[in-house]
Symmetry: C2
Subunit: 495 residues, 2 copies
Amino acid sequence: MEKDATTDEKAKLADLQKKLAVYQQNIKKNKIPVIIILEGWGASGKGSVISGIIKELDPRGFKVYTTGEANEEEKKFPLLRRFWTKIPLYGNISIFDRSWYRDVSISAVEDGLSEKEVNHRLRDISVMEKMLTDDGYLIIKIFLNITKKEQKKRFTELEQNKSTEWRVTANDWRHHRMFDAYKSAFQNMIKNTDTGSAPWLVIDANNSHSTIYKTVSELCKILKNKLDELQRGAEAETSEENKAKELVARTGDDIKKNPILPLCEIDLSPAAENNLYKERLKKLQRRLFELHNEIYLRRRPLIIVFEGWDAAGKGGAIKRLVGGLDPRGYEVIPISAPNNEERGRHYLWRFWSSLPKNGHIAIFDRSWYGRVMVERIEGFCSEQQWKRAFEEINYFERELHDRGTIQVKFWIHISPDEQLKRFNERLAKPEKNWKITEEDWRNREKWPQYETAVNDMLKYTNTAYAPWIIIPGNDKKYARLSVLENVISQLENEL
Amino acid sequence: MEKDATTDEKAKLADLQKKLAVYQQNIKKNKIPVIIILEGWGASGKGSVISGIIKELDPRGFKVYTTGEANEEEKKFPLLRRFWTKIPLYGNISIFDRSWYRDVSISAVEDGLSEKEVNHRLRDISVMEKMLTDDGYLIIKIFLNITKKEQKKRFTELEQNKSTEWRVTANDWRHHRMFDAYKSAFQNMIKNTDTGSAPWLVIDANNSHSTIYKTVSELCKILKNKLDELQRGAEAETSEENKAKELVARTGDDIKKNPILPLCEIDLSPAAENNLYKERLKKLQRRLFELHNEIYLRRRPLIIVFEGWDAAGKGGAIKRLVGGLDPRGYEVIPISAPNNEERGRHYLWRFWSSLPKNGHIAIFDRSWYGRVMVERIEGFCSEQQWKRAFEEINYFERELHDRGTIQVKFWIHISPDEQLKRFNERLAKPEKNWKITEEDWRNREKWPQYETAVNDMLKYTNTAYAPWIIIPGNDKKYARLSVLENVISQLENEL
């Protein structure tokens, strides 16, 4: 519990808290998503500060998350997944008591991470924050700073109170003795992540009740600025353009030097030898079954992305791909139009939430590439947004790669004539009826726009760590075998 | 991999699988939620059977879940939570490779559970299945049965194949040696949970490829029956009425003997002594702070439910309740109209998903009691549904109680005049504007209907394990102190 403040100070704080509640309503109205991070020393008062922040807030609009060491389950995924899954809806607030910064400060000291690993994590964090701020997220990063002497005093006080003594552990005292090592880890973290779009706010927290006042007061200022900025809409536009450029400049090198062929140059004539198909299919499925076991044993996650024209045969190819696999080790994730929960957040949120665990396979039937295809063509996102997406996706896939994920991306290609033939076939079969909708016919009319978008996608996201494979799909059997062959050869390379 | 079937058998299976896909589409159209459980011996072929089931299904309509021992995180919640959170949307299918039955069969033997504990779990399972089937869920429970000899043969074969040898662990062989103990656990489980609405299907799985055929064939029959039944709508109605009666008969005894006062007899005159309020509030908050630590140390979850008239002061009472608490140890969960994900499942789903962890506090600002208030009055559920809900809620709360959860339920009561006064005040203050909507005015007109519903609720869900507390709320300060006092005294009783 904090020390008593004077009546005057209390009244001033109460006013600020009410102001914050009004800002919260305006934030909601304007659909601004806000992330507030509380970092700082042990016993620096993060809990009391959070209490102070939420005091007058509408509980329907915020959520508090406490970050400890990653648990058993969280460790089966890339590091940042547990944070990506907790980003707020547009208009809401997520408050983090410790955050992704725990993994580059406390963990750096605790687990004795190499400088290289720490820098790697810092880079991933910068990328994540950039993606979020580019998308309109307001990230407010607060560090509560106290002296070693003050920390000692607080630990001692907590220990002397019967109901709080359990809060001070041997670990806390150990950390206290290592104050200097932590100090340099914290300094390094702040220095490397104090960016223009997500700056740090270091608050002197040696006096506990003025800390709350100072923090709430800073929050009010930041929110007010953001709301004022919104009114000067034009200005925000220009700065967004700059942001997009900045990101492109940083990932151009990842794209493979040998350019991928544009769709018009793909040879669609290859066909399977009918009489050998079954045998060959079975053989490939057996081999993949073996490799599936290998993946599991080595705890490598595998992502297979299927993109392609409507009726290109994605479903059929997936069916053969998994035909010999144990269904407990893979998941087919069909991606359709986002629901409200998904639409209300950064577009990558739902993909972070459905990543495969170590040793498991996630097969995406359509994917994050919707951003640069359907969302681009239908105008569900702005030009700047889909242009930025190429680089964002490259970053996303690079991060997965760096954390051990094997990625195989397919574009299943067919000709417009072949598509028409298949649409008509589908209409005729009751068990395939669900596969054809009005929308498919509408999309078909936009073939040229899609072709341009697909060529861009293939060109700008064809990286060494996640290259595209174009599968000629006019002959279904050929496509199915080819998918299996490509997955197998990529796994054999990686394992 | 399964043994080779003849071409004829393969063709027959392929036909059945296509049929299943058509049923799936009809199930979707009719919004029938389906749960398929696969239980059985180690190496009885659960994986292959699941592969066989999903072969032709639309992947957008089903999900496969594998159930192992509860993990670290899952153990912090009541046993059935991890299954409740995975029930399908209406029209979708959840397939469980092992399920809640793992906890009364394998776990019973592994962890040497007492007969009492096993029976307790069996009862909870029956209740869960009853709630789900009453709500229209189709639960299909399949047990794959093989002989001890066949199991030995399969383990040996798996071990001889280089890519599958790792699948057979020392544990599997240990289980094999304990075949008889498991047999009796499985028999006991089946005997006790083979109910009319969710019967078991024991399938002879000694011949692996006919097992898939038999299972898919049975599934087709069951789904066809269900779909046919739907067409005979009238009949279903009567059987639903019977189900409701059955459930009432089983929980009437839980309701407290001393009936709770109806709202019209509540004395609304109590008021706090203004000059002592602050001091008293502070003292109570300090005491609750101590007890919060106690709860955490003893790993007891605490649920506090706030119900009451619009503008009764729930928000203000909650604010004072948590005023002295560490925000990392509690969560305020505001319950408003369900979103699509929530509306598309059993109404208790969203509450199972938001239960507090052991040692944590969940404060519900409105709750599952919406079922017997707003949903009843606005006709969002049928009469049978809300009548059944009293008992379902009693069961739900009993289960939480049995698993250590402390529950405090408040009805904050005010007079219609007081409400009107507060509505007008809210309109005047910008920071409280969000608290008042058109809907509040509409609800106000239905005061008499709500009063009847509330009296029923207080009467039928006032159990020994989760009693109601009515708080006179015309004086806000009195209500706030009273809430704190009641929480404290209940905690002091329980700890």
